[in-house]
Point group: C2
Chain length 337, copies 2
């Protein structure tokens, strides 16, 4: 029999979270929850890639400030981003000198990082592990679609890559404050799913089947259902992918009701801000989880959530070569008693 | 105190390894050890990227054939490659439907995969975990340097990206044959190091400081020295990086003698094949470890080795933007009693 659920009996819990965003994210409904924002898309740097590195650098600095820890206190850091080949996040953590494992799960990377950080802490490989991911609208558009200087029109199903970086420290042991009561109970690794989507402007549709697969497998393996959780939060399916997910779950006999939400839907006031199908990118679920949801759990407004980070595993080259876009979705169950 | 060594007390061991290479690798001195080779650089596909995907697909198929296992027997697979954004390896494992964690550690990815596969098996998160990485000369040249059609001259320090894919299955429990006596004793995660190298044709120099750092930390933490191991094998420093590593270690009082070798040096007959500074790429150490070294251990020709996978964390964009190239090096100690 397959072991599909990673159980964390030693209660790996959050020590600190941080979130740094750009202007548009700060204009959205979650504005008050983020730790820092920048109005200049270049953050005083010469390139947008260096600006994205600055987002990571600040997210890490805030993390240390909040936790009263320093780089020497972190045994392992998991990092990743969308910019080939994960250079942005590497440069953002370089000066810290922490043992580093680079990840690539597209927009699911923050969930992948939380899953692995919890795994290594729970198993005792690390006393403390961190994870950090980032994305930037201008770096992602240039890489995956068109440089923004082209002024190309966006399609209705397109999502807007979040400018932001989110980070977290996971540790085991003593509960010292409200945030350290928030623990990762278990997790499930995603299986890549590909359903024939070839449109790089419809990430939601590419990722929804993977999200559905992970949720269905998780409910089956844990013998639970949606009503057992305060919220079931997908990473960045946006409006398009969220609707598809609900239909796919319905086809499998799972009712996805009011407690299903999505970080890509939440981060912008989509209509007022003209953000089409919502937000996406490695920084989307990272900032919404770190900025908003973990705080809601630490304040016990929420007590038991599923976070399903979703990623679209495309590259500009794979799309140009006519290949479809596989999706992946990693799940973590985050709780407070 | 930092926990720098990941100890694997439950003896995660190899169940099977596989290696698939291209023409030039098959013309090299390790020819007889590889499981399969292709003379056509496109392996009958329309693009080199699809050909690289075929290398991965075949490596996985051989792995299952050798182990008499199927995809349902693998709980987690760690995969990665050099082509943005790890699309090649994703497509190579897609049809298997195995829970997948994508990695990015450049040419160190196979060591990162072995380290994480051993970690999850040792901790009981998985009964069996696999790892697979790949690279292809033509896809890597196009992405990182120039399309090979340009016929650009190579510099003396440049390395040749290996066309190949290597894979391994790690499991705990019963020792059933010679290869399952080969176990991963412990591991150490690399710290990114950047020493000002900006030349994308001198990967060896970019990676050597990270390799030196990991080796020095490992010897210190384990209170061992080079003479305690049959071989100390770096991933793909090539001739240039290997010389630099020896000098850096010498500066730290460590004599790197005859038992130091490098997969990038071993895979080609460098002079006869005109391969400049040697081989590199995610497929280099993956095929040399899977094809040659694990077999040497299973035959007890070697009994205790250090494998230090080395990666250069650059992208075409970071190089064009004038950024230096950080290196990283992950270590695994592989033994047979």
């Amino acid at each position: 029999m397959k072991r599909e659920i990673l159980c964390f009996d030693n209660r790996p819990h959050f020590r600190a979270v941080s979130s740094v965003v750009g202007d548009k994210e700060n204009d959205g409904p979650l504005s008050e929850y983020f730790d820092m924002y920048f109005t200049d898309t270049k953050i005083g740097q010469l390139t947008w890639e260096k600006a994205e590195t600055e987002l990571v650098r600040h997210a890490i600095e805030i993390l240390f400030k909040k936790s009263n820890l320093r780089s020497g206190d972190i045994d392992i850091i998991f990092s990743g981003d969308l910019i080939n080949q994960c250079t942005v996040s590497t440069f953002g953590i370089l000066e810290q000198g922490i043992p580093t494992l680079g990840l690539y799960g597209a927009c699911s990377t923050f969930a992948e990082g939380l899953l692995l950080a919890s795994s290594v802490v729970n198993a005792g490989y690390a006393k403390r592990a961190a994870c950090v991911t980032s994305s930037h609208f201008c770096t992602a558009e240039r890489q995956f679609r068109f440089p923004i200087e082209y002024g190309s029109q966006k399609t209705p199903t397109s999502q807007s890559t979040v400018t932001g970086s989110g980070a977290a420290i996971i540790e085991a042991g003593d509960v010292i404050d409200e945030i350290s009561k928030v623990y990762i109970n278990n997790a499930m690794i995603g299986i890549p799913k590909e359903m024939g989507i070839t449109d790089a402007n419809n990430m939601g549709a590419a990722m929804a089947p993977a999200a559905a697969d992970t949720i269905i497998r998780y409910f089956r393996e844990t013998n639970t259902s949606a009503k057992d959780y305060d919220l079931v939060i997908t990473g960045d399916l946006g409006y398009e992918g969220h609707d598809i997910l609900k239909k796919l779950l319905c086809d499998s006999g799972i009712y996805a009701g009011e407690n299903f939400t999505d970080c890509g839907i939440m981060i912008y006031d989509t209509k007022k801000q003209d953000m089409h199908a919502g937000g996406s990118g490695c920084g989307c679920s990272a900032t919404v989880m770190s900025g908003y949801f973990i705080k809601q759990l630490s304040q016990r407004v929420l007590k038991n959530i599923l976070f399903i980070g979703t990623g679209a595993l495309l590259s500009p080259l794979s799309v140009m070569q006519g290949l479809p876009i596989p999706g992946i979705a990693h799940l973590v169950n985050i709780r407070v008693d």
